[in-house]
């Protein structure tokens, strides 16, 4: 069946009308951007649905989920995602459109997407699968966006992910990697300590992690600290529980004093000489990471510098 953007928008309008009739106190239509989500055909629909529903609250958007399969025609359907805020009187609804296409038929999709994008608002693409994002067939879709978000942590080793990241970072959009957002709380704590301790350049740093392969987040942190001497090593081959992140510790020495952050369960212990305190890092869910990235729409010079420095970290030998 031919997919027509006008027909899909009409379907959405009809949904709004039906919803308006049934709701006594009205429905609030919320939209701050178009979010195009690129996933493979077999991606867990339920898990994806939960993530999208989660981010909808803070970043209401028209979501267009594009499922890419091996074979098949382009098909599409539209619906509304609604929720009632706690203690609220009005339902809030956002639009969601699902399109399925194969690699052969992908070429027919961008014109449909053009017609479906919300006028005058930003467009972001989220493609958790780095390999999928790097497909040449998807370049026209990515070009629609001002921001493209990938997640290199699924590749387990930055060495496998780096070429694709480098290619994706030279295009017209701003590239974001959720693996960088996984490192934010570590970086923030190190930055606070650096500020408190009064140093801006580290003499030495040691970063450890869990699981085989160099986690992209750990490589980013190493490149970001950019110390005189960097030690990076695996602490344990076992992978951590979901949402905890693979970085186990970050220790930095500057001006003769060492500060260490060590993962302890869901918390992180901070050691500065004799003082030992602790803090809780939030769970790293896709929704939380996307929330952070969707809050950064301009140039992200810290990330750009870190990405540029990762090769240097690898060249120095890990």
């Amino acid at each position: 069946m031919e997919v027509d953007a006008g027909r899909l928008l009409k379907e959405l309008d009809e949904n709004w009308r039906q919803l308006g009739k049934g709701e006594g106190s009205g429905v609030l239509r919320a939209c701050a951007m178009t979010l195009i989500v690129l996933v493979r055909e077999g991606a867990d629909a339920q898990e994806l649905g939960v993530t999208l529903a989660d981010i909808m609250h803070e970043h209401p958007n028209r979501t267009i989920v594009l499922r890419v399969g091996e074979v098949g025609e382009v098909v599409a359907r539209a619906n509304l995602q609604c929720w009632m805020p706690f203690g609220g009187r009005q339902q809030i609804c956002c639009e969601q459109i699902e399109i399925s296409a194969s690699l052969e038929t992908l070429g027919a999709v961008p014109p449909v997407l053009f017609g479906l994008m919300v006028a005058d608002l930003p467009v972001a693409v989220w493609c958790p699968d780095l390999e999928l994002a790097d497909l040449p067939e998807l370049r026209p879709v990515l070009k629609l966006a001002s921001k493209v978000m990938v997640d290199s942590s699924a590749t387990l080793d930055i060495r496998e992910a780096l070429p694709a990241l480098q290619r994706l970072s030279t295009e017209s959009w701003r590239l974001a990697d959720l693996a960088w957002a996984r490192a934010t709380r570590w970086r923030e704590t190190v930055a606070q300590l650096a500020c408190t301790e009064g140093w801006s350049k580290a003499d030495e740093a040691e970063i450890t992690w869990a699981g085989e392969g160099i986690p992209p987040a750990a490589a980013y942190v190493g490149a970001w600290i950019n110390p005189g001497r960097l030690v990076m090593k695996c602490d344990t081959p076992e992978m951590p529980a979901a949402g905890v992140g693979r970085i186990k510790s970050v220790c930095v020495t500057a001006k003769g004093r060492q500060v260490c952050l060590r993962r302890e369960g869901t918390g992180v212990a901070i050691e500065i000489e004799r003082l030992r305190t602790g803090m809780v890092f939030p769970l790293l869910t896709d929704a939380a990471l996307l929330h952070e990235e969707l809050g950064v729409f301009g140039q992200d010079s810290q990330y750009e510098r870190a990405l540029a420095g990762v090769q240097g970290v690898l060249d120095a030998g890990v």
Binding site: L28, A30, A32, M56, H57, E58, P60, P85, G88, Q90, I92, A181, T184, R185, R187, E188, T189, V190, A191, Q192, L193, A194, C195, T196, G198, S200, K201, W224, I225, G267, I270, I272, L275, T277, G278, M279, V280, F281, E292, G295, V296, G298, D300, Q302
Partner: protein
């Protein structure tokens, strides 16, 4: 170090807070239990507090550190708003809680605090910085600050250390006492060490007024006497004095709400754009606006201000006591439980535009909002529209639902050009589903960071007292026939009459 720190990432990090100790006078009081400790705990939960951090509670009651921690644990678990209580995090947080008992009038207390701060500087690495929160009776401010000064606590142990002092309202009970309080504080402290807290300014929506006005290009051109007909500021409470009768009968609505909170809100709505968003620039503009408020002459008070007091009534079938029947209240009390004033701002932007401000207890609902009513369209060309009084209205809702709505005319579906007023809503809570920080979280964090933008400066305090003092003077000399409004109504009839003189009516919020 000059320029931004190379590790800084303001796009993603929260603002950094320097190490510090927070010393709370009145640690056994209601504000500490209900607001201050829950807010500090919440900041710890959000990882906003630095690694080197401690809290020292000070009050008369003898208590060990452990007893204080247990007491605060109960309070935090009970009064934490929209947040889970994490026992593991609490244990970590509680390790930084300490207690010093003593009498504010006793010099020994301040020496004990000095010893404790020195210990914490070492043991908790608080960097020699201290934020003193005076959650005590205003009559004790001068004694406490003098005691702190005598013990050398108004300055840090090293030149780079800071000492800041948060003072709760009321800042005096009239213009003269506000100046006297300032003299007492300034004898020991520099103005830039004094943080006068007005929690209204810490509310997200009040801050959002600045974003709305100065972050958008389309509203500011309309924000003046050419387009605005009137402004109404309402702060209504449905409850009565709730056991605070003895305090409230000395204060009254004009002193308790309008002189501070609502004039600060008015200054935010009406101020000129600051050159930069920076404490001095923003506060200069607020102060300038407050100084531009036209002082009411004594002979104008009867037409520019309305004093009210609620009487007994039945609401929803239940009997509600009048103010004079409340426990602890003088049966002949002349207290204003309702106050409405008309104010004019004498500057080029606002000359001639009335700002109507009202506040009261036992009104029909709890609501705080600001309504900017624009001039009517100059000509009505559509059928059925003539005689309709629905001018464009921009409403900034502060509580209970934070948001902004704009009322305008729309065509009624069907044939013909019949118009109906409709509203376009922006709801703060639902547009951003995330939890917004409480006013105390925002303000405590600002003080720790040394950002006084949302704190009141002495010239602002004096200017707002000057705006209400003529009204207080006349009311103090007049005997009112109270009660003059029933609990559950929108206030005395005289309040409607005050607006009717200019052809205006109070809107129903």
């Amino acid at each position: 170090m000059s320029g931004p720190h190379p590790f800084d990432d303001p796009l993603r990090y929260e603002r950094a807070v320097p190490p510090a100790a927070v010393v709370i006078f009145g640690a056994n009081g209601d504000l500490t239990k209900r607001k201050l400790l829950p807010s500090l705990y919440r900041l710890a939960y959000e990882r906003r507090l630095p690694a080197g951090f401690a809290i020292v509670g000070v009050s008369r009651t003898a208590m060990s550190d452990e007893q204080f921690r247990e007491k605060m644990r109960e309070s935090v678990a009970k009064f934490l708003e929209d947040s889970p209580f994490d026992a593991e995090l609490w244990n970590e947080f509680a390790r930084g809680l300490f207690y010093v008992a003593g009498d504010i009038a006793d010099a020994g207390l301040y020496n004990s605090i000095a010893v404790k701060l020195k210990e914490l500087d070492e043991a908790r690495q608080t960097g020699g910085n201290a934020l003193f929160y005076l959650s005590i009776q205003p009559s004790q401010y001068a004694t406490t600050v003098a005691g702190l000064g005598a013990a050398g606590l108004n300055h840090g142990p090293r030149p780079e250390c800071w000492r800041r002092f948060i003072i709760e309202k009321p800042f005096g009970h009239d213009e003269a006492s506000a100046k006297e309080l300032s003299r007492d504080l300034r004898a020991v402290l520099d103005e830039n060490q004094i943080y006068r807290i007005d929690h209204y300014l810490g509310k997200e929506t009040v801050q959002n007024i600045l974003a709305f006005r100065f972050g958008n290009g389309i509203f500011e051109p309309l924000w003046n006497r050419r387009y605005v007909a009137q402004v109404q500021i309402t702060a209504a409470e449905s409850i009565g004095v709730e056991g605070r009768g003895a305090y409230y009968q000395e204060a009254g609505a004009l002193r308790d709400m309008i002189q501070n909170h609502l004039l600060q809100v008015m200054s935010t709505i009406a101020m000129e754009p600051p050159a930069v968003y920076e404490p001095t620039a923003v506060r200069d503009e607020r102060a300038k606006l407050l100084r531009s408020i036209l002082a009411v002459k004594p002979e104008q008070v009867a037409t520019h201000a309305v004093k009210g007091q609620y009487g007994p009534s039945r609401i929803g079938g239940a009997a509600v006591a009048g103010f004079r029947q409340e426990p602890g209240v003088d049966p002949q009390a002349q207290t204003d439980t309702y106050a409405a004033v008309t104010m004019f701002v004498e500057n080029w932007r606002w000359a001639g535009v009335p700002f109507y401000i009202r506040t009261g207890k036992r009104l029909p609902k709890r609501v705080t909002d600001i309504a900017i009513q624009f001039n009517q369209a100059p000509l009505s060309i559509f059928e059925g529209e003539s005689g309709q009084t629905w001018p464009n209205l921009l409403v900034v809702r502060i509580q209970p639902e934070e948001g902004i709505s704009l009322r305008f005319f729309s065509k009624l579906p069907g044939s013909g050009m019949k118009l109906r007023p409709v509203t376009m809503d922006f709801n703060y809570g639902t547009s951003f589903g995330t939890r917004t920080p409480t006013a105390y979280e925002t303000l405590l964090l600002d003080a720790l960071e040394g950002d006084a933008t949302l704190y009141t400066r002495q010239d602002m305090v004096e200017a707002s007292w000057a705006a209400v003092q003529p009204i207080l003077n006349v009311w103090g000399e007049t005997k009112f026939d109270f009660p003059n409004y029933a609990a559950g109504s929108w206030g005395p009839a005289a309040s409607e009459e005050m607006l009717a003189r200019r052809g205006h009516v109070w809107r129903v919020p």
